[in-house]
Point group: C2
Chain length 332, copies 2
């Protein structure tokens, strides 16, 4: 508990664990705020992480905390640059486990090209660990959940449901090979510049700056929840094809047994991208070449309706209602 | 628990409570990150709040969360502009109490001139409420904990110990009039410009841009903890005078009974300001005219030693050791 007092014990914890692994010139100044040079439009976001268990197949709360905020920045067309992290630590929490989680954060931050520039530590009597990460990045392109247009194609960057299936497996004590998909989708940051400079430019014409209309990472509540937000904000409908929804065999089996639907399940390394129809194949090709996106696929399109409709395998149409309550707390 | 699922229940909570009170054009876009125009140097900071009780004489966790982050930004010479907030809410938490706290945040944010531009909500099984606030501001002047120079004067902006005494009183069930000092010290933001434009310019000469060397809000661990950080980072010593330390009579009495020292106690609306000696009186006069700073006083000076020394009331000198562990968890 004394690690949270603000005195010498707090300083020791910060030096021994956080500064050691999060080293960078800005953090080490130990000011009350990091001072950064930014010009123009910046993106600013926050996310708290309360996942249980703290370590799971494919990741841990630290990796999740970095990826979640990095992906939220990428979702608005930004290049992620700086993170802060706030730790709320239960008394008696293992220092070894804390250090493992901090190392995981540090490695993920390196992979994502972001610096952790400020932090805070509090200690509480309750067991466990909660991490908040906030992040800023410079906004390069203008995408928005309100910007999807009728006829545009919807790309999902990979297999759905893996994060939730991994957490559920851990909680239920089921042994399988399902790994959380938690990943920083840094290949999708700055996507316009990359597309424009792409040597594989199919028709050699410049890709329009408005080609990509919406990006949104697909987390809690799954694909359907994102699609409902999109319909509401972009004032449109959506049609997706069940046969196109990418799901790996193991998650498919897991879902069949438990009666779950991957389109409602949480992911931590998947993006939804809405692209103007004529650029859809080119963007898909680009996306498939990004790390963690090799299974990207076009799952459907924007319609002039207002519902989220699933074309089922047998050819029927089903209106997908929004998730009301999934009953799976502490998924991220 | 379903309020944390990411589905409709989460959306309802966000609309009914957070959007309702935190209304502004940026937040209402409901993107994954807020997009903001910033130019030049910006300050970026984070803080988590776990105070218990959640509501206390003089404030609540929401007011604390806004003030803490606002004051951290002011500490590096920034003008606070935008906040994010992350809520971790215990299952079964009273919606009425949550709304009271959110209203308190909203009012404090208005007073401080900051907008809450992004947020996040998680629900856990544990009881209680934790709030993280992160903030950004534009940096106008350059102050640093590493920048204090020998001979400079140390201003404390008001009476010490009130926040901690208020929290302790609440926990111990002691009835008294001690109010937490929690406040946004917004009058101290942008202090240089204000000083330069001050009509009360004592000698009519422009105040030097380097007049104010260090600002730091005095929170957990109290004045002595800040002074130790300052000595370490600025490579100096400090002499403070016991008779100059501002403490109100009620806190003095409270401390006498419990054997506490106000210089080690937590505050939530007090700043330490180190000023070049020749400008000290002018800056003090300015500070005393700022809201929440009327009891500001010069408590000591920077020395060429390395210790934090207290000149006692009876004329002796006492080396003040850093706080090791104060045994008062969840003070902020």
């Amino acid at each position: 508990m004394s690690h949270g007092s603000g005195g010498q014990m707090t300083a020791k914890l910060i030096n021994d664990i956080f500064f050691k692994h999060f080293q960078n010139d800005i953090l080490l100044k130990a000011e009350d705020s990091a001072v950064l040079d930014m010009n123009g439009k910046i993106a600013f976001t926050t996310d708290s992480f309360v996942v249980e268990p703290l370590e799971f197949n494919g990741g841990d709360i630290g990796k999740l905390a970095v990826c979640g905020t990095v992906n939220d920045l990428i979702s608005v067309g930004a290049r992620p640059l700086y993170l802060t992290c706030g730790f709320i630590i239960g008394e008696g929490f293992s220092i070894e486990q804390l250090e493992r989680i901090v190392i995981s954060m540090s490695e993920t931050a390196k992979e994502a090209g972001v610096k952790i520039v400020a932090g805070d530590t509090k200690v509480i009597e309750t067991k466990g660990l909660f991490i908040n990460t906030s992040g800023i990045g410079d906004v390069i392109s203008s995408v928005s959940i309100s910007n999807s247009k009728k006829g545009s194609k919807i790309i999902v960057t990979g297999n759905l449901g893996e994060h939730q299936a991994s957490i559920m497996s851990a909680r239920m004590g089921i042994e399988n090979n399902i790994k959380s998909d938690v990943a920083p989708l840094i290949g999708l940051a700055n996507i316009f510049e990359k597309l424009q400079n792409s040597p594989k430019n199919i028709d050699n014409s410049e890709i329009s700056k408005t080609a990509i209309q919406t990006m949104r990472d697909i987390t809690r509540g799954g694909l359907v929840t994102v699609l409902h937000e999109l319909c509401e904000k972009s004032n449109c409908g959506v049609l997706i094809y069940e046969k196109k929804i990418p799901v790996c065999n193991e998650v498919k089996g897991f879902c069949d047994i438990l009666g779950l639907e991957p389109i409602y399940m949480a992911n931590e390394g998947k993006m939804l991208i809405v692209v103007e129809e004529k650029y859809a194949d080119k963007v898909l090709e680009f996306v498939k070449n990004c790390l963690y996106c090799e299974n990207a696929t076009i799952v459907g399109e924007i319609t002039d309706g207002s519902d989220v409709i699933l074309k089922t395998l047998i050819g029927g149409e089903r209106i997908l209602s929004p998730l009301y309550s999934e009953g799976l707390p502490r998924i991220c």
